[in-house]
Symmetry: C2
Subunit: 209 residues, 2 copies
């Protein structure tokens, strides 16, 4: 396949290298095709890769990959020109420049709850999976992950221990504001279970070496 | 440990049963402690479990578990009474009653991008993990999951194939609006990698039987 990759940063260049190895033809689209970063990416990707302008890469690809920093995305699409009917693989994330949060604006039930009971030590936990997994979170010897977050270390240790008692591998996701991430993860579980046909017996796991 | 569980639905009763098996003392707090659902839960949980009012359970627990439907949560907390200093394990999700979405209000970069290039066939993909995983997504023989979503079936098939070429297990997360779930998942990856000390070599996996 011919793949145009808009953006030759870490994500774009890693994807391009993998696909080039797999026999796909890759063209990176960058703002300055004659710049040093362009030639560095080209050298790293090896055979089958080219560098051009953003519009060159967009025209080249039967599929186009969007791997730009969020703040540069709109301009990159304007520079891309005609993308009509093309599969556009969007790898962007609407991150603030310091990676501290998403820019899409969201809050969480957990933070709301903490305002209702301000002297309780709220931990978000047991919200990202179904009851079947709470009854048995082990898949072929592997413990499913239970993410949790909160602002009180001692309360979090209690919560993590209670997850471990059920057979989960607890993973600390940080302060209570991380509930903004764990509640959408619950919605992803629900979507996969009930709309995408996975049913109720699957679970999320953090794989590590 | 003494655990008070507010709400005796599927999640609350499954957690209580697991902890009772593990030797913890469990009390469910429900609106009607003499109702049939309360006695059913009690029978299912077995030894070590009790049922009381919401405030009984809150007072009983050294840790209190909040397992209510979102719409009932505020009233349940008001009924709970004093939770000062208690670990409050929040298992709720701010779901709309039909489970169609979160109520916390959020949007996605992908949907914004689709308005900028309305004739491209946008697929959200390759946003939920780091470049190391894109270079090698296999952990001890297990392929990391690559979630993707979009509104065009053929474009999604192309995107899934390109994920498979890199060694990922692609998992279809539904329509492009599911990017509202995949972008927070990216932020969770970033949070775990850079703030919670997991580093860049871990990946999300859907475990199945």
């Amino acid at each position: 396949m011919r793949i145009g990759i808009i953006g030759a940063g870490t994500v774009g260049s890693t994807l391009g290298k993998g696909w080039a190895k797999h026999g796909h033809q890759v063209m990176y689209g960058v703002r300055d095709p004659r710049g040093t970063s362009a030639s560095r990416v080209l050298a790293a990707t090896g055979t089958g890769a080219q560098v051009g302008s953003v519009s060159d890469a967009a025209a080249f690809g039967t599929a186009v990959v969007l791997a730009t920093p969020w703040q540069a995305t709109r301009d990159a699409l304007a520079a891309a020109g005609d993308l009509d009917g093309k599969p556009l693989l969007d790898c962007t994330n609407p991150l603030k420049p310091d990676l501290s949060d998403l820019e899409t604006g969201h809050t969480s039930a957990a933070e709301q709850i903490a305002t209702w009971v301000p002297r309780a030590r709220v931990v978000k936990i047991f919200n990202t999976t179904g009851a079947e997994n709470m009854a048995n979170p082990v898949y072929a010897g592997q413990a499913a992950t239970m993410f949790y977050c909160g602002d009180d270390g001692a309360a979090k240790e209690i919560a993590a221990g209670l997850a471990r008692d059920l057979g989960f591998e607890p993973v600390d996701a940080g302060p209570l504001t991380s509930a903004r991430l764990l509640e959408p993860l619950a919605m992803l579980w629900i979507t996969l279970a009930f709309r995408q046909g996975l049913g109720r017996t699957f679970a999320f796991k953090v794989l590590r070496h």
